[in-house]
């Protein structure tokens, strides 16, 4: 626990330092230069959890994600924004190889998780997905009991003992801020929950396998404002323990919950940096236009 806290403090300091020191120098660079150079820098940093290097994702002949370079920091919340069809979901799904499900979809380049390239046929996709959890756009609990939903992942890991499962279920639901609402009806169908509760259940289900990374694909887009707030609070709670990558359409949401923001446009990574900076002082006109709602 303490180690983690220290680590986080370090990283926060690091971020602040980065902010203050590099602002002006960033300004001076050309933007192509900036992308290549800046993210290349991130590769070298020890806290970069996920690193993409010249990563492209192809749908047959269409390049949906174009040679992007990006480092996602450990324990931080990184938001990916951009207009529809800009490749942000595709990139997200590349991280746990969900794109494998789409026929004709392939990846080129490198995508490293803790320094291991996961774009390789030798990667154990099943093990990968246990380390990289995913929450989807629409809440998709299984039509099973609430308990069985959360226990699904642990059971995959071979945990059979009822008491142990119960413990994990309780912890996961508590972390997902759902325990108090469902503790009396664990043996009820999960489809009976409200949309917001279902989404938190899905988060609890993802947490139950104790992943390092949590991918969220517009997790609140199908929810009402109150439920959305719940989810956002939850993301803030989870910050630090997990590396969270969230794709969102909602600028305010990105600004509220994330530490870093990446702006994708038509498969290119346009700008990537600390959220505060991207939103208050974007380096590129394109980014500014998007954030202020002039297009997209």
């Amino acid at each position: 626990m303490t180690i983690q806290e220290t680590l986080e403090r370090d990283m926060t300091n690091d971020r602040i330092a980065e902010h203050t020191s590099s602002r002006h120098s960033f300004r001076a660079r050309k933007f192509t230069d900036f992308i290549k150079k800046d993210t290349a820098d991130d590769f070298e940093k020890p806290e970069a959890h996920i690193c993409a290097k010249d990563l492209s994702v192809w749908y047959r002949e269409v390049e949906a994600v174009k040679k992007i370079n990006l480092g996602i920091r450990k324990g931080k919340v990184t938001a990916i924004i951009g207009p529809s069809g800009c490749g942000k979901s595709t990139f997200l799904r590349a991280i746990n190889r969900m794109n494998d499900l789409i026929p004709g979809c392939r990846m080129t380049g490198e995508l490293k998780l803790d320094g291991e390239n996961i774009n390789s046929p030798a990667v154990d996709v099943v093990a990968l997905r246990q380390r990289v959890g995913m929450v989807f756009q629409k809440p998709n609990p299984f039509p099973k009991y609430i308990f069985d939903n959360v226990a699904y992942g642990p059971r995959l890991l071979g945990i059979r003992h009822r008491g142990r499962l119960m413990q994990i279920v309780e912890e996961s639901l508590t972390r997902a801020a759902l325990w108090d609402e469902v503790k009396d009806r664990l043996q009820q169908n999960a489809l009976g929950l409200s949309g917001g509760q279902q989404q938190r259940l899905c988060i609890a289900r993802a947490l139950a396998v104790n992943p390092e990374i949590l991918l969220m694909d517009e997790p609140a887009s199908a929810l009402d404002p109150k439920a959305t707030l719940h989810i956002e609070n939850l993301i803030s709670e989870l910050r630090g323990d997990y590396t969270i990558v969230i794709v969102t359409h909602n600028m305010q949401q990105a600004a509220r919950v994330s530490d870093y923001t990446a702006f994708f446009y038509e498969g290119d990574l346009i700008e990537y940096g600390p959220t505060r900076e991207i939103f208050t002082n974007p380096r590129l006109k394109q980014t500014e236009d998007y954030i202020t709602g002039r297009f997209g």
Binding site: S120, A122, L128, E171, A208
Partner: protein
């Protein structure tokens, strides 16, 4: 607090060559099992074709084609057997024709009613009726045809038929009368239209009704010597084929996109005009496929024809006399195999396979055609979007 889930992470995500090979083998094996099972159907179809053909060939080798296809004399158990299947083909043809004449119009109308006219809540109650008709075992239909319907046909056949005739023709007459009246009115262009319309309508439908009445009287005088005959079987087969026609037609009607309907209504068409001029033409090929499938159901049916067709291998005189007993391909196979299978190897045995072969070829062809139509139709509709 999170850390008490002590999952032992694999140190690396990369699998060793051995693991990869193992996994590949397992998935290859697993998929292999699935593929094998899926190919079961292919194997079965081929095996059916093979075994039926294998036992057909000896017959044609021994007896040749000529007699089988051209003669109508079917005496397989005589000392000098004759294998003229003409009368059997006739029997199958006539009962199927009758069944199709009943099933297709009724089925298409019922499908239109189900898919276009009935409100959703009512449809839920009507659909099971069709499903139950489909699920009743053929032997029960046969029992009904033989034990209940045949005596009725024998006793009150004429009256029954004339009532059916009236029920079918009366609405058609009214429709036609209304149409003709409308046309005449448009040319006359008189005042007091309502009265004239009514008078004309009554006049036309009255004269039509008179003819219907005369014909139905003629029919009701009909004497049916035996209740087990082609007519009985055709009616029952028609009802058995009805659910097939209804459900496949309904599917194809449902597949017609809403836009077409909306466009038609938007132009001020009535429901009927929309259905007849817009929906049915778009679904026409599907309806044709439905009729083909219904035909297959009728021609392949065994129990009803075996029990209630009279099993007389003959072409009645005149040939269209549907109230005389007939004998079909399926009933012959079912009925004669009992006597033939003890003497495996004789023409008597192989000729039944020859009959089955003809059935099989017919069912293959019509199945292929209907499938091709349905597939094409689907592509067209999807492409149209």
């Amino acid at each position: 607090m999170q850390k008490n889930i002590n999952k032992s992470l694999p140190p690396t995500l990369l699998m060793s060559g051995r693991t990869i090979r193992l996994r590949r083998m397992v998935s290859f094996f697993g998929e292999g099992v699935l593929v094998t099972v899926a190919f079961f159907s292919v194997a079965t179809v081929l095996a059916i074709l093979y075994f039926v053909t294998r036992d057909t060939i000896p017959f044609f080798q021994a007896e040749g084609f000529h007699e089988f296809f051209t003669s109508t004399r079917w005496f397989p158990s005589r000392e000098h057997p004759e294998f003229g299947a003409g009368s059997l083909f006739y029997g199958s043809l006539i009962v199927t024709l009758g069944a199709v004449l009943i099933a297709v119009p009724l089925g298409v109308f019922a499908a239109v009613g189900l898919s276009e006219i009935l409100p959703f809540t009512l449809r839920q109650y009507v659909k099971p009726v069709i499903e139950i008709l489909a699920s009743i075992p053929s032997v029960a239909y046969g029992f009904f045809a033989l034990v209940i319907f045949a005596p009725l046909l024998q006793g009150q056949g004429g009256i029954l038929l004339s009532v059916g005739f009236v029920i079918i023709t009366l609405p058609i007459l009214l429709l036609i009368a209304a149409l003709i009246t409308g046309v005449i009115i448009r040319y006359l262009n008189t005042s007091g239209k309502m009265v004239v319309w009514l008078l004309l309508f009554i006049l036309i439908s009255g004269s039509g009704g008179y003819w219907i009445w005369k014909i139905s009287l003629m029919i009701s005088a009909l004497q049916i010597d035996s209740g087990v005959n082609a007519l009985n079987v055709a009616i029952i087969l028609g009802i058995m084929a009805l659910p097939t026609v209804v459900s496949v037609s309904e599917d194809s009607l449902q597949a017609v996109s809403k836009d077409i309907r909306m466009a038609s209504y938007g132009l001020g068409a009535t429901k009927t005009e929309t259905i007849v001029k817009a929906v049915i033409p778009s679904a026409a090929s599907g309806i044709f496929a439905a009729s083909l499938l219904g035909t297959m159901r009728a021609i392949g049916e065994t129990m009803v024809v075996w029990m209630a067709s009279g099993n007389a291998a003959q072409i009645p005189t005149p040939w269209y006399d549907i109230t005389s007993p007939v004998r079909t391909l399926t009933a012959t196979i079912a009925g004669d195999m009992g006597e033939a299978d003890h003497i495996t190897g004789s023409s008597r045995y192989h000729v039944l396979f020859a009959l089955a072969f003809c059935l099989l070829i017919f069912s293959f062809i019509s199945n292929m055609v209907s499938e091709w139509i349905i597939k094409n139709n689907k592509r067209k509709l999807q492409g149209g979007k």
